[in-house]
């Protein structure tokens, strides 16, 4: 029998970590943007801005369009945020600190990632708007292309542990982190991690050429929740990357949870920097690269990892 926190504790803990993670992400993203833009950094304004902008969106009224699917529109951010929470719940802060440690944690996390497509399609479909629907279809093409390399990149990390439990996968990295064992795994994971949360160069569904894509019709709370859910998913992807590639809680001097937080923030910086340093990829290119390059590379990664363990 594996560990599970009580439902109340798990919901509060995961919710609090997600909110804190989204705030840290917003500050980091703004900071990186200011560094690239070459503007002076005022710490007070930097720390206050996410809260202020969030409050502004809470006060703005929700907007509607002609003949929307109102239920779908309201549900989409909840589904997306829920999936981010499920994904994050699988990430252990320490061997004994984890919201849920099912024997199939890897499968639960992957299922959450796979279902993101439904949330995004629902979000794009619901407002009855051309650009929003266009963004939804783009994510369909994007998701179908990244799911396989994403799973394969993660699967290779389960081989040394001989288990699909995330706690076991982290435990197996006591002597050597997976990033050393499988050098191709982390870059692959990060590329598809950016795609999952459609951030930066792979922000195709909510892109500037669609004036915001699936989010184009959102205002007020709808916009806040959608942006929050998207950021939460990026936090979950970074946290899982820290667990399965960077040894999770393993590290000297500091307590385990501190290492998890530090490693997560480090991966977040890399993921967010891509948004300020790399141009938008064309969807056709991404689909081509995923099928022709990333899938064979991810397969090779699994084969090599398996062979080294024999």
């Amino acid at each position: 029998m594996r560990d599970y926190a009580s439902p109340g504790v798990a919901i509060v803990a995961v919710g609090a970590i997600l909110v804190a993670g989204v705030y840290v992400l917003a500050v980091l993203d703004r900071l990186l943007g200011m560094i690239v833009a070459g503007t002076s950094i005022r710490l007070g304004a930097l720390l206050a801005e996410p809260v202020q902008s969030g409050a502004l969106l809470v006060l703005q009224e929700r907007r509607t369009t002609e003949r929307p699917d109102a239920a779908g529109w309201a549900l989409a951010p909840a589904l997306f945020g829920g999936l981010a929470a499920v994904a994050l719940a699988m990430v252990p802060l320490d061997r004994d600190i984890v919201a849920a440690d099912p024997a199939t944690g890897f499968v639960v996390f992957s299922a959450a990632i796979a279902m993101v497509m439904i949330a995004i399609y629902l979000h794009g479909w619901s407002p009855n708007s051309a650009f929003a629907l266009h963004g939804a279809y783009r994510y369909g093409a994007q998701a179908l292309s990244f799911q396989i390399p994403f799973l394969l990149a993660m699967l290779a990390t389960a081989l040394p542990a001989e288990s699909l439990s995330i706690v076991d996968i982290v435990d197996a990295q006591k002597s050597v982190w997976n990033v050393v064992r499988e050098p191709a795994g982390l870059p692959l994971y990060l590329v598809v991690g950016v795609a999952v949360s459609f951030w930066g160069p792979l922000n195709l569904p909510d892109a500037a050429d669609l004036a915001g894509g699936t989010v184009v019709e959102d205002s007020g709370l709808d916009r806040l929740l959608w942006k929050g859910a998207r950021a939460a998913m990026l936090v979950a992807v970074a946290a899982m990357g820290a667990a399965v590639f960077l040894g999770g809680w393993w590290g000297p001097w500091l307590p385990g949870p501190a290492w998890v937080v530090l490693k997560t923030v480090a991966l977040l910086v890399v993921l967010l920097a891509s948004g300020h340093l790399l141009a938008r990829v064309r969807i056709e290119q991404f689909v081509f690269v995923s099928w022709v390059l990333l899938i064979p590379l991810a397969l090779l990664n699994v084969f090599v990892s398996g062979a080294l363990l024999l």
Partner: protein
């Protein structure tokens, strides 16, 4: 009662917190306002947004022709409550939009402060949000009968409910797919002000496109000229310093680049470029070369633009299409005919590929070249010949490069995916105002 009081208290507390947030602004750059609106990106107190749904204030800058009044009213009504509108005339005549505005202001600092004040008042309930301008009613009666409003006679084809539905049509692969008619513009943030396209899309592929006549064309002069375009308009009729002209050209190219970077999701780098444009000096050649390296590293000149929107030299030969033609390998440049440039070592830069990446490289190369020319020009002045090489190509009494190029646009965009079409359009640097400025200058009505 207690609950209502609690809600009010919470709302007031949130209002106080939110009042300090950067003001989300949807800006409409009218005639003469493009640079002013662009510079607002550098102001940390504001945030220019791409969708009216994300905005709290609608900023209308510069002069606007009558033809934009109705689309502007639609735009206004699509802002969520609480909302407000600010008119920033920038020297233009009375607004053509028949609504009352908050007191108008004319200085840049004043704009940001006023926008902040408007946001503060809206959030604290001190200013009522603006009501809709247009009636909130269906364009035609809805005749759907199903539980979700679907079905019903006359609701399954053509243009039911005043909205065209997708119909079967041929696509580029010889299949018959749904083709959706769609109008994009005139306030689409990635398009130049005034551009509207009637599209037919099969999926995200453009199967047909027709530009709608620009509302600026034929509009009465509004009496303002964009600062960056002013010297080129002046050069049509009077000698102007070559150094000033070339510095202005480099600035215009960098301003274009700042917008182009936003279109490929590199807005932070775009802000850096915008600041360089604002403070540009003839000694900044190294900064532009460094920028070129950065653009290649970020893949803005790379995977985002390589092979996109290719325009062959034969298509633009003789059009005076400036950087578009030179990026395709044609050394067409009005400066080669100007005696003021002889002895300066001026040779038009050309590329070969004619795609979006080549146009990015072309403008960057020309910006660096212009700074070198400006440094060498001393006090030379141009010789007016009735035509001048503006940053977009030949500008003369007949119009500008955009006006001459526009009929080629459908052929360039057809068959492209929407993302590539936007990349292509951005790389063309269309400008509907330039010709109007020249026309207005001839009428002697232009002010700075």
């Amino acid at each position: 009662m207690a609950r209502a009081g609690l809600q009010l208290g919470l709302k007031q507390a949130l209002g106080r917190v939110a009042a300090g947030a950067p003001v989300p602004v949807f800006a409409v750059a009218g005639q003469g306002a493009r640079e002013h609106v662009q510079d607002l990106r550098l102001d940390g107190r504001l945030r220019l947004v791409d969708s009216p749904g994300a905005a709290m204030v609608l900023l209308i800058a510069g002069g606007l022709p009558d033809g934009l009044a109705e689309p502007l009213a639609h735009l206004h009504d699509s802002l969520p409550h609480p909302r407000a509108t600010l008119w920033w005339p920038l020297g233009a005549g009375p607004a053509t939009w028949p609504q009352q505005f908050v007191p108008t202001i004319e200085t840049r600092d004043g704009v940001s402060e006023t926008l902040q004040a408007i946001q503060r008042e809206l959030l604290r309930g001190q200013r009522p949000g603006e009501p809709p301008i247009l009636p909130d009613e269906d364009p035609v009666p809805w005749k759907g009968v199903g539980p979700y409003g679907q079905g019903g006679t006359g609701m399954t084809g053509g243009t039911p409910y005043g909205r065209p539905m997708a119909e079967l049509g041929a696509d580029r692969d010889g299949l018959r797919l749904d083709v959706l008619p769609l109008r994009i513009g005139p306030f689409f943030p990635r398009f130049p002000p005034g551009l509207t396209l009637d599209l037919k899309l099969a999926g995200d592929v453009i199967v047909d496109v027709a530009p709608v006549e620009s509302p600026f064309a034929g509009a009465p002069p509004v009496g303002v000229c964009r600062a960056g375009a002013r010297i080129f308009v002046d050069a049509l009729s009077q000698p102007v310093p070559v150094a000033g002209l070339e510095l202005a050209r480099a600035r215009e190219h960098l301003r274009w680049l700042a917008d182009a970077l936003v279109a490929v999701e590199l807005g932070s780098l775009g802000s850096r470029v915008l600041r360089l444009a604002a403070e540009l000096r003839t000694s900044d050649g190294d900064s532009i070369r460094t920028l070129g390296r950065a653009l290649r590293r970020t893949q803005a000149i790379g995977w985002a633009t390589n092979g996109v929107g290719r325009i062959p030299a034969a298509a633009v030969e003789g059009l005076g299409a400036g950087p578009i033609a030179r990026a395709a390998g044609l050394p067409e440049d009005e400066r080669t005919h100007d005696p003021a440039y002889s002895g300066l070592g001026f040779e038009p830069i050309v590329q070969r590929d004619g795609d979006a990446a080549a146009r990015w490289r072309q403008r960057l190369g020309e910006a660096a070249q212009s700074l070198e020319l400006a440094a060498r020009a001393g006090d030379r002045r141009t010789v007016p010949t009735g035509s001048v090489e503006s940053p977009r190509g030949r500008l003369d009494g007949e119009g500008n490069a955009t006006a001459r190029f526009l009929h080629l646009l459908p052929g360039v965009l057809q068959g492209l995916e929407w993302g590539d079409a936007v990349t292509t359009l951005v790389s063309l640097d269309l400008d509907f105002e330039e010709a109007v400025f020249a026309e207005t200058a001839r009428a002697g009505a232009v002010a700075s």
